[in-house]
């Protein structure tokens, strides 16, 4: 068996060419689905595989497809290629290196829910990638794999790419749909969820690029095969985007359940000489910060176990932070990000991110005291549980866990602020 399910282009040269992809079994799953399987059978197979969404929430994919409202037509499929979480760069590699497998996944999903149009929503910065995808879509049309009555069946499908305008919130599925409709990218009230009320108010499946890229293999080789990888409740492989202070940052496709230690040291080449892992943010800027104890390093990275060390797997963008870094600096960075990206629709997030960033800036500038730190923590707690979408909640994760788990970093900074002449060195800030 090959090492890769998703990053197969690393082994097979020119996999981004249609003929090469087809020589390696490409579009057989799609053909099998549309010529031999009922839509429901496809959904059932995906359900049985236990595949969980790779966009962050880990929602079971087959289950989502089965929620599509069959009393309301037409249906749409939307591939979420917004990939905006700081530290995440896996969807991009898939779409660049193994684009047809991703497109085949979109097409199978469209067949499973009987959608005749599918959209690929890419972050604005991916404009070159979008142009490449457009060419690939044309190639598929030319090959008769997209269009009307594909391969002589009743199934017709067209794919479209759409570029966002540079907003993190447009990765949130309902904000994405608003943006796709041409409106301001702000999340919708949920419920109703997209499978009943999605694009233009019609039932819609929104899935992450990586999620969809798993699908052709599941259909081709079966759910049972798929479940042989990963853990019982988190089957399959996952692309971990490893970054931060490691020697070999990059994408690593590994079975779910691989430990942090294996990712960082075996694959990621460890840290610079003399440096120790201090903290890990396993889900990009939205993570709770894990204290990198030995026990934590040995934790398997799957949806369940990450929670046990007080965080979430999210999109598995693992940011490694070494002992030269102050957590006070880290949360200041995340706060600048969230303040910049809050959509502003709901009060706690709009006002709270702005407020937190200002306090954090003051702490960084040496203009804050103990009370400010308390206020910062309190503001973060006040945001929690009150927002319209998850972004507001995300903005508080690093703050609350950073202060709780790395209090001394903050105290050191405050102490230095109180006495700027103090010879005591403060942890450097990395640039």
């Amino acid at each position: 068996m090959s090492t890769f399910l998703l990053l197969r282009h690393r082994e097979i040269p020119n996999l981004d060419q249609l003929d090469v992809y087809r020589q390696h079994g490409g579009f057989e799953a799609f053909q099998k689905a549309i010529t031999t399987l009922q839509p429901k059978e496809v959904t059932d197979e995906v359900k049985a595989s236990g595949l969980r969404g790779r966009g962050g929430a880990g929602f079971p994919t087959g289950m989502k497809w089965s929620f599509i409202d069959n009393n309301n037509w037409p249906h749409y499929v939307v591939a979420n290629a917004d990939e905006s979480e700081p530290g995440t760069f896996k969807d991009r590699e898939i779409m660049e290196g193994n684009p047809y497998q991703f497109l085949e996944g979109v097409m199978i999903c469209a067949y499973a829910v009987q959608a005749q149009s599918a959209y690929i929503y890419l972050r604005g910065e991916f404009w070159q990638l979008a142009a490449e995808l457009d060419k690939r879509i044309q190639a598929l049309e030319a090959a008769g794999l997209l269009g009307d009555n594909i391969l002589g069946t009743n199934f017709s499908l067209r794919l479209y790419t759409h570029l966002g305008a540079g907003a993190y919130i447009c990765g949130e599925e309902t904000a994405l749909l608003e943006s796709l409709e041409g409106k301001l990218g702000q999340p919708r009230l949920r419920p109703p969820f997209p499978p009943s009320y999605g694009l233009y108010g019609k039932p819609t499946i929104v899935n992450n690029v990586e999620t969809l890229t798993n699908v052709p293999l599941i259909v081709a080789r079966g759910a049972k095969w798929y479940k042989t990888m990963g853990t019982e409740r988190s089957p399959g492989t996952k692309i971990f985007s490893l970054c931060g202070q490691v020697n070999k940052p990059g994408n690593y496709e590994l079975p779910l359940g691989t430990t942090f230690r294996e990712l960082i040291f075996t694959h990621g080449g460890g840290l610079k000489d003399g440096r120790k892992v201090k903290a890990i943010m396993p889900a990009g800027a939205s993570s709770s910060i894990i204290v990198a104890t030995e026990e934590a390093l040995d934790t398997p990275m799957d949806y369940e176990n990450t929670q046990k060390v007080g965080s979430v797997l999210g999109s598995a963008s693992v940011i490694v932070i070494d002992d030269s870094v102050s957590m006070e600096w880290v949360i200041n960075k995340t706060l600048h990000f969230f303040k910049h990206e809050s959509c502003g629709k709901c009060t706690p997030c709009r006002e709270g991110t702005y407020w937190m960033m200002h306090i954090s800036d003051r702490i960084s500038r040496g203009q804050a005291n103990e009370e400010d730190l308390e206020t910062l923590n309190d503001v973060a707690l006040n945001i929690q549980g009150k927002c319209l979408c998850a972004l507001g909640e995300f903005s508080t994760m690093a703050v609350v866990t950073g202060i709780e788990r790395f209090k001394s970093d903050f105290e050191l900074r405050l102490a230095q602020n109180a006495n700027p002449e103090s010879p005591e060195t403060v942890l450097a800030a990395v640039d």
Binding site: I169, S342, P348, E351
Partner: protein, 844 residues
Amino acid sequence: MAQLISLMIDDKPVKVPEGTLIVNAAKKVGIDIPVFCYHPKMEPVGMCRMCLVEIGRPQIDRETRKPVLDEQGNPVIQFGPKLETACTTPVSEGMVVMGMSDKVKKGRQDILEFLLTSHPLDCPICDKGGECPLQNLTMEHGPGVSRFLYDEKMHLAKHYPLGDLILLDRERCIQCGRCVRFQDEIVGEPVIGFEQRGRSLQIETFSDPGFDSYYSGNTTDICPVGALTTTDFRFGARPWELKPVASVCSQCPVGCNITYNIRREARAGGRYVIKRVLPRQHEEVNEIWICDKARFAGYQYAESPERLTRPMLRRNGELVESSWDEALQVVAERFKAATGGLVTYAGGRLSNEDLFNLKQLTEGLKGQAILKSSIGGGVLVAQMGVAKGTDLGKLGAGDAILVIASDLQEEAPIWWLRVKQAADRGATLIVVNPRQTRLDRFATHTLRYDYGSETATVLAMINALESKKTRLPDWLAKYRPNRFQTAAAKAFAGAKNGIILFGQEGMDLPRSQELALACANLLFLTDHLGSPNNGLIGVWESANTQGAWDMGFRPSTELKEMFSSARAVYVVAADPAGDDPSLADALEQSEFVVVQELFLTSTARLADVVLPVTAQPEREGTYTTGERRVQRFFPAIPAPGGVIPDYEIAARIGERSGLKMENRAASLVFAQLAARVSDYEGLSYRSLAETHEQWPIIGRDDLYYGGTAYENTQGLGVQLMPSSQKRKIFQVNWQEPPVRVSGKGLLGVPITRLYDRGATVTPSRSLASRVPGPFILVNETTAQKLDMHNDAPVQLMLAGSAYSAMLRVDTAVPESVVLVPRSLGIPLSELQPVDIRVAETTPA
């Protein structure tokens, strides 16, 4: 009937229909859950997070699907870990809502603290201060101290003009989106919206001119802070200095209920002046909305320094001031002498009391009572109008509304809004007009016809009906329906309830009379008469045109002849000489002309006697709306010394002519009227002042629920019964429309624009920039044929005279048609051939 759901809110048991939102369920039992973004007229969005409450639901056993019970046999209630928004969550059986728990109180405090971090707190100079939901809720639930550093506040534009009428203070905006949703959901004109994101999220206008909507003022009422202000009121007064006076808008036949806010002012010598106009809730008339004409033109004319305040008599060719006694004496003598030769020409701006007395006087002197109206059919509306109990707000799926020969938004903005919303609720909307209007977007059926063939269209629809109750006249057969007309006719016939509104587009008296009759026949044949939400509505040019019909005034096609041969002409609230120069000539020929007016109009200038009158906000009276609802208005401000209400002037002339007439009070005149005019039988000022509870409940302590619209405490009025509702058997007449040959060349067509140069509009300071000069509309092809371009100064040749105007190109105008707005200086009163020439000079 929706199923009733039982739940507990703050230990109070509540029973409400399925689907009710928690905020509304609470409101019904007097519990106020604070809101900012929620508005009972709009879909919930859950943006502001102010309404967070704790919600518990009965725990359900997975096996049995029944509620789990505790030892006492009570259902076990499970509370979620998070607070939930009461404005987006519908009630469910057995739910327990806690709006007073510590967790909820803390939640409210947190949200307010967040909102205040970026709020300027300029309450002391803020227009909203004193009626501000943010201020009130902060007092009640807010944190008391600020932990936010003042220096870190974001500073934004404080006087950002969204348009000529509305200004935005970007610091005060709390991003609740009510204004945006109002324009989008309720009006369907999304001319404002959010731009940017995060703390930079702000309101912007996307139209040119800015905030281009006739409904813009309503956003200032529902804005929960002082972010949106009107140019006429901003920095004008503090809310607590203002007194509310109930009134009815005098600008169009909808009859929107309004409130004048008044206070004493030094600039008026310590007398009361009107500071602003706000909607007064009437769910069956205007809900809690009014149009910008009501808000900005509804009162400013009364303050005009041009008002007449002394009677004037013509002496040696000059109008000179006189005493009332002398003026009335002269008028009475001349009127008496004119016996049989008196023509009273009155406008629909007058109240029922005025019109009743004018009719008594005219009748007593054997004169003729003529109504100023370019559309007819008022008698038919009295017979076949919408029945008592009609509420456009109740029409929806299964019902049908047909709007014919009307640019409804320009003619009656709030009807347009209500018709549009009925279509939103699923009503079949049939729009029949020669050109596209703003209503077309919401129409189920759009029928076009050539100007002049509106009646033929309705007759064709009648021919398309399958079952016909009566034998139709033979001549009708020639009106063959096309498939669009057939489809529309069938949809109308099949509807549960059906209403027809006929309007002013391209109308003159004979045509509209024919049209009204055809519409009445269509209603009769489709059984849409005599019951609520069925019948005929005339989109009249004035607020009380229907009242004038009811009081016995009738329009005439022979005005010129009438005026020139009259021994005395009594012009009240009308300006025939200003409307049409040929009428001025006719008046010159009549022996004696009396004008009773607010201003020195063109007609007044050539009159023998001019009598100054009280303005509507200075007096009381009643109007009858196009839906035949009789409504009262009350005196808001003192009249300038020297003026007298119209009904009283008429009565005093009558007395001096030997007639017995009521002059003491409007209420007493109304009592006489109710005794003599059969449809008004049994009405009194008291019955018109009755109210009942309306939903949504607004205007109490919780301003935040409906905004600054006023609760209606002074009367909802009474809707009259049309004859069709009183009698079962009904007779309809048929009249074959005469054949009119239209000439070649350009056809001039009169249309109506909301912002015209009417006597009460021109003095409005606020609307000045929106009221255009004379202009005409043609399409590109016509313009090309004429070799003229958009915005070209032209001369319109009409019956031998030239009128300066700007030519505007509008794609919706049919070819070879020239649309001429009424009351903008060009006296086109019927379909008529016109010619266009290059102007020698630019019109002023």
